[in-house]
């Protein structure tokens, strides 16, 4: 691993950011795609609106569709106007931003067109002062994650010389299993150094996800309790109400809940909540500790998968008074599909800190609510002073990731009155009301970090491999079960009842 530590700039003291982005051309592959319109261009616009992009900055959209700069700008203006968190569009900001938007048609498999791309980029450097620094963002289908960098390398666009830098941002999924992830990793590392590769997981750009580290390591009251002695269980839930809207069916058929959510987002959440304190607030130190957590996730045997993992597929049901199709009835989904839309699992980390503590992970589509959270349940007091087996359980610290980002701590309190009756109450912190300022979109934070060269919130190669090692064992175990291992759940419910059997005694899935 590269452990290059940037030189400290004494004038940055107190300015909140280690450095500012320098001149750069942002080369966006997949410029006509959904991700570009919904997330990436609005994020770039918002960064420009807040003065966070450099003066010498240019965004070059690249995609197969032939169109002019003006046509792409017009399409992007509509996208930003629709999807930006700042409404309405500021005409003056857009005008200045749009001047630095260009488009280049490119068949991703055509070497000649990469030569054209190089000519265009050199021209942009001369005209817009982007100094030869390039950030290639691969918002494309996974089959191009290997070929585009190869083509860029073939025309000399990945080299770094004379102080110029080149970075490549790769969207998920990074592989479809351990073998393919290793192959992709080997391929990219033949073209790039690890420090040039930014594997993006937009969950890491969320304020509340970043706040996990602040909460744990910026306060003295939590960390002394953060281990097997005081923590009974950890539950991570990412619940979605959506199904296969937006022609997502064909993609999801190849992915499924494990690949789409567990391997990346949920593994990252798990590593953040379970990692040891880093030696310093530095990308490599933090990623070292995250990687150790994922390394401690032992692959499950087929027998363990049978008792510790439940997968399910939603059937037709009702969600908020509206009928929802079953998964196999969705567009682009096979009538006999074996793709899971729900997965729940119980696992453990083989570390001194966490040995014996169950980690429950649950994710599904067409669940009753869109909500993501990490719930840390603490053990009961060592002496049951009140001797009432019916008392509600003790303390749970909940980190809400979305919506209503914030955290709450529940504890027992005496109910006012003559009787000695206890009830759960909670202290609540809400990002929306505590700071009175809107949080930036995850992609804004991550793009800015990539422009600066801060990889703290990006996934390192070894993290990806360890996560795949674990998830591949689940995929193998489930494949061995065949169709019999698939359960169903009605759309609008909290998943298949079989998920309850994963829980150890006295544990229950939280109702979000």
């Amino acid at each position: 691993m590269d452990h290059a530590t940037p030189l400290a700039n004494p004038f940055r003291e107190g300015l909140g950011r280690a450095t500012a982005p320098g001149p750069c051309c942002f080369v966006l592959f997949g410029a006509t795609g959904d991700l570009c319109a919904r997330k990436l261009l609005p994020a770039l616009y918002n960064l420009a609106r807040e003065g966070l992009t450099p003066a010498e900055f240019y965004v070059l959209g690249v995609s197969r569709k032939p169109q002019s700069d003006l046509q792409w700008r017009t399409a992007m203006q509509q996208a930003v106007a629709k999807y930006s968190r700042h409404q309405p569009l500021d005409p003056a900001v857009w005008e200045a931003f749009a001047q630095r938007l260009g488009y280049q048609a490119c068949e991703f498999g055509n070497p000649a067109q990469y030569a054209d791309l190089r000519v265009r980029l050199d021209d942009i450097d001369r005209r817009w002062g982007t100094a030869g620094n390039r950030l290639f963002y691969l918002a494309v289908a996974p089959e191009f994650f290997a070929s585009i960098p190869s083509q860029l390398g073939a025309v000399g666009l990945l080299g770094e010389s004379g102080g110029r830098w080149t970075r490549v941002v790769v969207e998920k999924p990074f592989g479809t299993d351990l073998t393919s992830a290793e192959a992709l990793s080997t391929h990219l590392r033949g073209l790039l150094r690890e420090r040039q590769i930014y594997r993006i997981d937009h969950y890491l750009g969320k304020e509340t996800v970043q706040n996990i580290l602040t909460l744990r390591f910026g306060n003295a009251i939590f960390e002394p309790l953060w281990d097997r002695r005081y923590i009974e269980a950890v539950q991570i839930t990412v619940a979605e109400t959506v199904g296969m809207e937006g022609r997502r069916g064909p993609f999801y058929e190849r992915a499924g809940a494990l690949r789409d959510m567990v391997q990346n987002h949920m593994m990252q959440l798990l590593s953040l909540v379970a990692m040891e304190p880093p030696a310093a607030w530095h990308a490599e130190a933090i990623r070292d500790e995250k990687a150790k957590v994922l390394q401690a996730l032992a692959p499950l045997s087929a027998e363990q998968v049978a008792t510790q993992v439940v997968r399910g597929q939603y059937t037709r049901g009702y969600l908020l008074g509206e009928e929802a199709l079953g998964y196999r009835e969705e567009d682009g989904v096979a009538a006999d599909s074996a793709t899971e839309t729900f997965v729940a699992l119980r696992t453990e980390l083989r570390t001194w800190r966490w040995s014996g503590v169950p980690f429950y992970l649950r994710h599904g589509k067409r669940l009753p609510k869109r909500a993501s959270e990490i719930a840390v349940t603490f053990r009961q007091p060592p002496l049951a002073l009140f001797q009432n087996p019916d008392d509600p359980s003790g303390n749970t610290l909940v980190l809400r990731l979305q919506p209503d980002e914030g955290l709450s701590l529940s504890f027992l309190s005496k109910v006012p009155g003559m009787r000695l009756q206890r009830r759960q109450v909670k202290m609540d912190f809400n990002y929306g009301s505590a700071f009175g300022t809107a949080s930036p979109e995850a992609y804004e934070r991550l793009i800015l970090d990539a422009l600066i060269g801060d990889s703290t919130l990006f996934t390192r190669d070894d993290e990806v491999q360890y996560a795949w090692r674990f998830v591949s064992s689940l995929l193998d175990g489930l494949a061995a079960q065949g169709p019999a291992g698939m359960t169903t759940y009605e759309a609008g419910t909290w998943g298949p009842p079989a998920a309850d059997r994963l829980l150890l005694a006295d544990h229950a899935w939280r109702r979000l």
């Binding site: 009702y318 908020l320 009753p368 979000l512």
Partner: protein, 387 residues
């Protein structure tokens, strides 16, 4: 600044129609400006409170009674109330939202909670779990009060039951109490509680009072017979008596053994034996008898008398409602060691609001309560096994 008419109407308790998928978003869109207006002084100050989510499934004919009751409940137990009105005349699912605000104390902000009203025909009942589940608030108890006289449709409770903290019923007044009980049990509506339990709180207190200061635990082991008498009524109206008997037997450490055939009854103008069961006592066999007396005060099912007998010690203890003082219980013991009794204790019938508040403020899980209901269902023949 002008206050949006919808926001003002909402805070004043008017029901605003809303499409079911937009319930949560509409509530957020109403509370946010309401809070801002209250801060700026354009609306009275208020605090939004939710101690839980209470889902009430009731019939259109009970709608006015339940709605009024819930207005009173929200003053003492502010929570998100989801009132489901099953109306044979209604078609598809319709929704409305309103606020319920009460002045907790002079000079203090109002305490506000919210009500979501869902109205649908019986055919739309299967849609309800998928509508209700997203509306349950996290981290506070969620209760289902099944107030329909008939059983829930198959699958209804199973979808909700897994995530609810408790179910409540009032089987005393159900047309088909056994069917409702069996359906709720099979639908995983657990833990299941019945309002009859909370109505009888004074009877349990009175029974406990009989044995306060007990010097010799062996006295309790000598009790062999337990009888509860209530006013005659329909099948559900035996539940209060069965619950009290099951609870008392459980406190004595008795375990259900078998039901007994009721032989030919001795003609008795005063009471009719309706159930007799055998129990396993720590020191031998015990017997629980339920009997009824003709309705005297227009209240079928009302508890009249509890008697505990220890023939070996020639002793008995009794709680009895007096005909001439229906708001009191007479507490009486016939035992050499009991010198302080008889006495009286107040036991007026609790108002429906009081019963409901007691139920909602009690812990969702209570093993004693749960065991008593299971054994009462066994006594009444609603359940083959006592659980």
């Amino acid at each position: 600044m002008t206050v949006d008419a919808d926001v003002r109407e909402f805070l004043e308790g008017a029901a605003l129609a809303v499409p079911p998928p937009a319930i949560e978003a509409t509530l957020a869109a109403l509370w946010r400006p309401a809070a801002e207006e209250a801060q700026s002084g354009d609306l009275p100050a208020f605090t939004r409170v939710s101690l839980g989510t209470e889902v009430v499934v009731t019939s259109a004919v009970r709608a006015a009674v339940v709605g009024s009751l819930w207005n009173q409940v929200s003053a003492e137990h502010p929570s998100r109330a989801i009132l489901v009105l099953v109306d044979p005349a209604a078609g598809s699912l319709q929704a409305a939202v309103s606020a319920a605000c009460h002045l907790a104390a002079p000079g203090q902000p109002q305490v506000c909670s919210e009500r979501i009203q869902l109205r649908c025909g019986p055919a739309a009942l299967p849609q309800l779990p998928g509508t209700i589940l997203p509306l349950l608030e996290p981290d506070v108890p969620a209760t289902l009060w099944w107030d329909l006289p008939t059983a829930p449709p198959p699958g209804f409770g199973a979808k909700l039951g897994r995530v609810l903290d408790r179910c409540l019923t009032d089987l005393t007044y159900a047309a088909e109490p056994a069917a409702v009980y069996q359906a709720l049990r099979s639908e995983e509506c657990e833990p299941l509680g019945d309002l009859a339990w909370f109505r009888a709180a004074k009877w349990r207190e009175g029974t406990a009072r009989l044995f306060d200061g007990l010097a010799d635990a062996a006295t309790l082991q000598q009790i062999e017979r337990l009888e509860v008498v209530s006013a005659a009524g329909g099948p559900g109206e035996l539940l209060p008596a069965a619950l009290l008997a099951a609870w008392a037997a459980g406190r004595l450490g008795w375990q259900p053994a078998a039901t007994e055939e009721l032989g030919p009854q001795v003609p008795d103008a005063d009471q009719t034996v309706v159930s007799r069961t055998r129990w396993q006592r720590p020191g031998g066999a015990g017997r629980v008898t339920l009997a009824t007396v003709p309705v005297a005060d227009g209240r079928p099912g009302r508890l009249q008398r509890l008697t505990l007998e220890a023939p070996v010690a020639d002793a008995s203890w009794q709680l009895e409602r007096l005909h001439d003082r229906p708001r009191e219980l007479r507490v009486e013991a016939h035992h050499a060691a009991w010198c302080r009794l008889p006495s009286r204790m107040p036991a007026s019938r609790p108002e429906p609001l009081e019963v409901l508040l007691h139920a909602l403020s009690s812990p969702p899980v209570n093993q004693t309560r749960d065991a008593a209901l299971r054994q009462a269902a066994w006594i009444l023949g609603w359940d083959g096994a006592p659980g």
